[in-house]
Amino acid sequence: MADTAQAHVTPGHGVGDPLGDDGGSRRDFLLLSAGALGGIGAAIAVWPFIDSLNPARDTLALSTTEVDLAPVQVGQRLTVAWRGKPVFINHRPPEEIKAAQDVDVASLRDPQPDSARVKKPEWLVVVGVCTHLGCIPLGNKPGDDRGPFGGWFCPCHGSVYDTSARIRQGPAPQNLFVPPYEFTSDTAVKIG
């Protein structure tokens, strides 16, 4: 029992401690710095495990989709796949363009003028994934419920988008995302 009693005496203050107070603080420093370095090392060692869960290189490589727009009639809505997600392409008729442009931008939840969301007013290109919880909104097929603003309507939790795919009602916080895209000719678009 005598041994254990001695072991509990604080280092540096023990009667039999040859190092004295100075040695105690040196020991504290060594303990702290070794502990801190060990902790940092462990944290760094964890990173490869976490980062391995991020998209792999082959996943990242599948990043562009080319679409021929020639057969798409005015008023027709097309769905194409890009990075495994649906992209909505809407060949907007003049009344939809007008409805999108005539909105008081300041009144919107995610304020964006229509001109900032299209490269050519007659073509709207957006990722067809609701910004609430990731469902695919209805409205891209004839006969779908397009909601009160004539754009898209998400059946999961009732988000409503207008003809510029901006959020107008429901729980979604943002407008449908506009992917990076460019017109490679008058009738072809490259997404991604």
């Binding site: 998209p55 792999a56 996943t59 495994g84 919880l133």
Partner: protein, 423 residues
């Protein structure tokens, strides 16, 4: 480990098991026990373990939950031998289990409905604890470990639901992982990290399978801690008073082993009705359609045992707040031992709480109804009222009633109460 409250450690070297028979077998048992005190441990925790003599049938559900956990692990391990965790093959491998693998249909239906049974049992177990104040001093950690088990169960069940890779699997995975996109600034990065891609896809399925196989064993470990904490102070009882001596208790074995066995038989009858007659009643027909990332089913609903949390999520118009309240509804349970300010455990002796208590199960059932129905009209209103009440109950009523009400006098002892009840 699990030293009793009387303080005598079970496994001191040389404390040979009392029941070890004479002769060669007894010598073998004593030889083993001197090195690994297994028999002495079982003897101490099962034969000598003093259990209140007045436990009612609501106390059956703890051991029942343990048995169902074993059933889930056994069926799950065998199912994993036939299942293929790949986005192109998973759905067909599950159909192969149903049609071609010998008794595959039985294993899958046990596992599928077993998840529902597990939650049903655990929810009853939880509400029993709430009514009889089983979370109060000195059982706070016991309760907290129970809530940890519930959280792990929810994660495990969700990931298991994704594995068949049907439409509901795919869209449940999409909606639930998207909850994390509500986190400010880093939300989208976290979601990409969870997916391993730009949408839910094969990498997501692979990691969910890995975790779905891992987490049940983590649950087993936490159940072990839950039992150690339980045996530290013993079971609570319907009177909520401490036992004071041998006249208040009976040995766990054979009295409660036989009662638990009887309860198990009744439960297996109930379980069998689901497995053999209505195996798909609790699941959605949409999940027999292969996953299609381009089309969302018109009406997404989670499994019944997650409906209340889902209803809370939908009842809040703000995305971030909805997510916070939905997670918060579970995390709130961690605080219950401190939210309840009454020192009396059992609601039997609490004239006000006894009635107010029942509003909570009613409220949770209302939330379940809301979660199952499309969010329109009266459903939205009921959802918002029920969500408000859920938090009101825990955060306002529980602390307030504990302070305001005058509890009825407690019986002197369990033994005395049992005798005067005339049973």
């Amino acid at each position: 480990m699990a030293a009793s409250s009387s303080g005598a450690p079970a496994n001191t070297p040389g404390s040979a098991p009392a029941t070890a028979p004479a002769g060669a077998v007894g010598r073998l048992i004593r030889w083993i026990d001197y090195r690994l005190p297994f028999v002495a441990f079982i003897e101490h925790e099962l034969y000598e373990y003093p259990t209140p003599r007045n436990l009612n049938y609501w106390w059956n559900f703890g051991s029942l939950a343990g048995i169902v956990l074993v059933v889930m692990i056994v069926t799950g391990v065998v199912l994993a031998m036939h299942y293929t965790p790949h986005a192109d093959l998973a759905f067909d491998s599950v159909e192969r289990i149903m049609r071609d693998v010998n008794y595959g249909w039985l294993l899958r239906y046990i596992h599928m409905n077993g998840a529902s049974m597990f939650f049903l049992i655990v929810y009853i177990h939880l509400f029993r604890g709430l009514y009889y104040g089983s979370y109060k001093y000195p059982r706070e950690l016991l309760w907290i470990l129970g809530v940890v088990i519930l959280v792990l169960m929810i994660a495990t069940a969700f990931m298991g639901y994704v594995l068949p890779w049907g439409q509901m699997s795919y869209w449940a995975a999409t909606v639930i992982t998207n909850l994390f996109s509500a986190i400010p600034v880093v939300g989208d990065k976290i979601v990409t990290l969870l997916w391993g891609g730009f949408t839910v896809g094969n990498p997501t399925l692979n990691r969910f399978f890995s975790l779905h196989y891992l987490l049940p064993f983590v649950i087993v470990a936490v159940v072990g801690l839950h039992l150690i904490a339980l045996h530290q102070h013993g079971s609570n009882n319907p009177l909520g008073i401490d036992h004071r001596g041998p006249q208040d208790t009976i040995p766990f074995h054979p009295y409660y082993t036989i009662k638990d066995m009887f309860g198990l038989c009744v439960f297996l009858l109930f379980f069998s009705i689901f497995i053999f007659y209505i195996p798909n009643m609790l699941s959605s027909a949409d999940n027999y359609i292969p996953a299609n990332p381009m089309v969302t089913p018109n009406h997404i609903v989670p499994e019944w045992y997650l409906l209340p949390y889902y209803a809370i999520l939908r009842s809040v118009p703000n995305k971030l707040f909805g997510v916070i309240l939905s997670f918060g509804s579970i995390l709130l349970l961690f605080l219950v031992p401190w939210l309840d300010t009454s020192r009396v455990r059992s609601a039997r002796f609490r004239p006000i709480y006894k009635w107010v208590y029942w509003l909570l199960p009613i409220d949770v059932l209302a939330l379940g109804y809301v979660g199952a129905n499309p969010p329109a009209g009266s459903v939205v209103v009921i959802g918002q009222v029920a969500t408000f009440y859920y938090f009101f109950h825990f955060l306002i009523l529980m602390p307030l009633i504990g302070k305001l009400e005058t509890p009825r006098p407690l019986p002197i002892s369990i033994g005395a109460a049992v005798l005067t009840e005339g049973r």
